[in-house]
Amino acid sequence: MIWLDLMLVGLILGLAWRCVHAIELMEAVVVFVALGMLVALAWARLQAPDAALAEAAIGAGLAGALLLATLRQLPAQAVRPQPLHWLWWGLWGLFGVTLLWAIGSILSTPVSLMPWVNTHLPEAGVSHPVTAVLLNFRALDTALELAVLLWAWMAQRALGESPDTSFHPVQGRVLATAVKALLPLMGLVAVYVLWRGSSAPGGAFQSGAVLAAAWLMLWLADLPGLDPRRWSVRLGWLGGVMVFFLVGLLGLVQGIGFMGYRPDQATGLILLIESAAALSIGLLLASMVLASLPGIKGRRA
């Protein structure tokens, strides 16, 4: 199998090189999305299915949508690469050589936190170690990361972008019918991925990505969906962060400590947080994409 890995890594390196060397922006973007897919594949090979799923859905899928939407709004202009000074090359080479040289020693010291994770997994409320780390052992990381997403959305709004409800892409009835048929399935998948996260790869991020896709589909099919003027949607944006921190404070009330759960309630609380987080992630990501569209000269209904 080493050949497969070598091939994959070679492809990844080649695409990365292509991406930063592209002459046209379109090429760079397409290569970047392709790179995202291959990277996801590599991560699956690295026994990290959670990360692979998230990367495929978010890193390649939604990022691709955002990139293409942006690209459409840029004037066509050639990429003019910066000439690099030889000094820069020297520093870069030095950095590279040091990095490659130093990394060798890392392999001989197989240290990890897995023993601790395994010891405490029974108290974590979930049996999937990644979810346990994300939602329990290092819960504050995850909570603040939701905040990063929320603040990125806030930033986008501050820049004057918001989902334009007057803009309707008319795609005909085929899509509308198909979306109506597929929507329950997507909801089911989202819930399944979320619930499965407690014992196997999956969880809020992946579920949120599916939800975001569902919302985008709704909008594409011109079906009633996301309206940022609605309170429910606005609350949905904050829901993840709010619920996460309120549960965190609950831990203080119960004497476990901030961001802690009583072991017997952990499963339920984590599921609660994950549901809110998935909803928020879905709403935020969908809003981000939708808000990035109006600049496109599209057809208006």
Partner: protein
Amino acid sequence: MTEWGLAALVVWPLLWGALTLVMPVRWAALPGVLGGVFFGTWVLTWAPQSVALGGWLPPLGLSWRLDGVSQFMIALVAWVGGLSSLYAWWDRSLPSAFWGLWLGVWAAMNALLLTADVFHFYVTLELLSVAAVALVALTPGPAATRAAFRYLLVSLTGSMLFLLGVALLYGRYGVLDMLLLRDAMQGDGITALALAVMTLGLMAKAAVFPLHGWLPQAHAKAQTVVSAVLSALVIKAGLYGLLRLWLDLFAPLTSQPDSQAGWVLALLGTVAIFWGGYQAFRTPALKPLVAWSTVAQVGVLVLALALMVEATTRDSDGLTETLWRGWVWLVAAHALAKAGWFLAAGTVQKRAGETRLAGLGVALQRSPLSVFAMALAVVSLAGLPLSMGFLGKWWLLSLAWELQAWLWLAVSLLGSLLTLAYGWRVLNLGLSTGHGAEPLTPQAPLQTVPTRLDAVALILSALSVLGALGGYWYWEAGA
């Protein structure tokens, strides 16, 4: 009880900041700011402590560490942030989106100052970057947008380098907690490499020369209050990170008696002092002048860090009380003075409807409070007596003396003189009556800007001067 308080330091501004999306903005901002100031002040009364979040002890869980450095830095954020918020409250030209973003910056700063986990540090850095970049972009116009983008790019690259360092450290030691890492630290190549990339990343964020290129534009083009909080506080996040890296996390490495790495920092700081000062002396507009001054002052703080590192190589006590107290004092002096200067500069520019220094004469003379604020700020930044900056400089000079670092001693003195030189450019104009005996006539009618804005600037600058009277309390009684 203090654990509630610690949680509130992060959760309170974050929740109210988030609520600005669903509530009338100022209704959410007011409790957010007041609570932020309240908790940020209260923090001074708590005992230094570590808190294992969620009850999970490191290395498994995250932990918060409240020590002297973080205590005073949090309080500094609260006070400078609180007073800047007062300015923002009265500044009618500020978009309402400011409040949510600003509360995000505040929460991120507090979280960053509390955390004892390298990866969590990265997450807080990113939250800080996102909110701070958006704050810069609040100013309409291509110049501000370009500045914001550049800031974002540098900030992201810095974060990535930092994360690379985190990955290397985890690969080498298998832990993420700073204290555990420090205890396990070995002097091998990979550790040194991690230190190098993390330092580079933070230097980009803190605008340490030669990675300062983004700062003058970003800080000069931003809204007045944004410039103030970015220059006074957000920059300090990176510097605080450098302090943690060099004097805490990597202390076993950096305090080796034969370690010469500190001198690289000292050299960069020195160049920053002169280059920033020179640019501030030359730039034609007011806010860029203040922004370049930040580049120079960051140089002073980095130079101080380098001297502290050098001090730890000479004796084995590590980061002693006098060392960190002196540095945090310098940081506080700079934060207060710089916030005051930026707010005053922005107010004068608003009044004049003009940014070039040459066109500000009349506005300066009609803004005595702002001129006074700038004068006090310059006094403190240059380390003239009797100001916080003066005591800070006294400490720095004493430290340099003890280390027999004559070159750096001379550098910090010359840096002060350079500060006076560019400060003089502004103040001189405030006292000038124009060519000949006739008074200056304004090119355009002055805008009406409420005087209370000047007053807020003056309060901040005055604090950076009068704070000196609290020196003994800070150094002795506070210990």
